[in-house]
Amino acid sequence: MDPALFTQRTANEWEIAPQGPMRVPAVIFGSEALIRAMDQKVYEQAVNVAALPGIVKASYAMPDAHWGYGFPIGGVAAFDPDAGGVVSAGGVGFDISCGVRCLHTGLTRADVMPVQEKLAGELFSRIPAGVGSTGAISLDDDEMDAMLGGGARWAVGRGWGVAADLERIEEHGQMAGAVPGSVSGHAKRRQREEMGTLGSGNHYLEVQEVTAIYDEAIARAYGLERGAIVVMIHCGSRGLGHQIGTEFLKRMAMAAGQHGIALPDRELACAPIDSAVGQEYLGAMRAGINCALANRQILTHLVRQVFADVLPQAQLPLLYDVSHNTCKVEEHRIGGELRRLYVHRKGATRAFGPGHPELPAELRDAGQPVLIGGSMGTGSYVLAGTRASESLAFSSACHGAGRTMSRHKASRTWGGRQVVDQLAARGILVRSPSLRGIAEEAPDAYKDVTAVVDSADAAGLARKVARLEPLVCIKG
């Protein structure tokens, strides 16, 4: 994008003033280099979102923003139901509550390296991953509804985790307001054999080493120190979330006219929050969030089982679990007034600052952990929510690196075996059922996650705390 299209507010904040149907400005965060490299579609989509009914303050895009479906990926937008605000299936995304979870291990590199091969092999054989994989847990109708209402709390109740895990998950592991009855039979059918599966594409499970600390005090509060080993899991609500997104995208697109909403792009399909379809979507979407939380909880249980066998001295408490495709009701201060808003984050992470009452007591002074997944060869980051983020973008930050190259081009550029061998030479073991999938996920097909994170830090969206580099990567 051409920076000349914007009014530059700060070194990392660029504004598009309201024009035409826009109700509010659009604001894109990023360094000038990231803005220049960003797809022009991000500009168009951020502008389109700014024209939706009931939008509050601005349409935002994070430093890792890229072309999405309707809303940009990396988009944040809040809507006020009292001002005709809308909820949008495209504003949440197909993979509802896709997110990242990070587990401590209590181990160091010296503990892991002697068994690195064995650990990689055991994780790969016991974590269902890839297209068509199925989990060991099959849910009947009653259990499916219990899972959709209970989320990670349901999973812990079934023995897949401990109560202490729940305090380290957004919404304390259970999204309120879920309505399993609003989830279609098709969506439930699609999920029946997918509980406890990783999925494919950019979803992964990694064993990582903390290689740098940028904020000692916050790192201490998070229990992170240089040389420590953690496990990061990136996945979402699997087939159930995808089906909910598909079905409500259609329903909202078809009902938009009845609600008097003119859509410049059908993918922006949305419905008034107070409408029947809007309410039904919210109930189903919240059930989708619970599905994702339950799924990551079951995967956590499987990881703990593997570590108990391979490295029995390990303890794997949860650092935190974030979701980056959601719509949540939150209170935000707008012009001195506290308002209840429906905040869409699509490829964006909630980043509550220090003191926020939603945070568990032991993390409250430090701010919310913001977990940023990188590509399999580069590294990931832990950031912390800041107080400034509240006024910048409804307490939101980036979620990952974002692609710079299409899957097609990546698979033409690299071979899967070549990528595996190159990473192995650097001490990173990659295991996946698909060599083509590995080629499509090659590290150089992604933006530089460090540039994204540095920009988020400089903008004040979140504070950089630690860098994590992979030792083992299980790809779906």
Partner: protein
């Protein structure tokens, strides 16, 4: 990932778009036509019908754990009758790269072109 089909008729273009969607996952030539699955759907216009057709296939792929390599489509008004031939996923043979989450409305287009019809959209993976 964008998928685009061309054909003499809208139905033929829909068949090719479905084939392109399979190519997102695996090489369609490696999918044996061992089992036929019937798909019926309808939508208020041709473009939404394309999204419905592809989403119906995504559902069948996900729930049957199948891949499809051959398609036949008949469109009558707003209704589509389709058949897809394929087999159960064999990771060792198909090397499936990625699963398709759903067909989106991004770049969604069904339109006549000089030599027939085009049917295209972007699928989320």
């Amino acid at each position: 990932m964008g998928v685009r089909g061309f054909g003499q008729t809208p139905g033929a273009a829909f068949e090719q778009a479905a084939l392109a969607m399979t190519a997102v996952v695996t090489d369609p030539a490696g999918v044996e036509p061992r089992q036929a699955v019937v798909v019926e759907c309808e939508a208020p216009d041709a473009e939404l019908l394309l999204a419905e057709w592809l989403n119906a296939l995504v559902y069948e792929m996900a729930t049957r754990r199948m891949l499809f390599g051959r398609f036949a489509v008949r469109i009558e008004g707003n209704r589509l009758h389709g058949e897809a031939w394929g087999e159960r996923i064999d990771p060792a043979r198909h090397h499936p790269a990625v699963e398709v989450k759903g067909a989106t409305y991004t770049s969604l287009l069904v339109a006549p072109v000089p030599d027939g019809w085009i049917a295209q959209t972007v699928v989320d993976v």
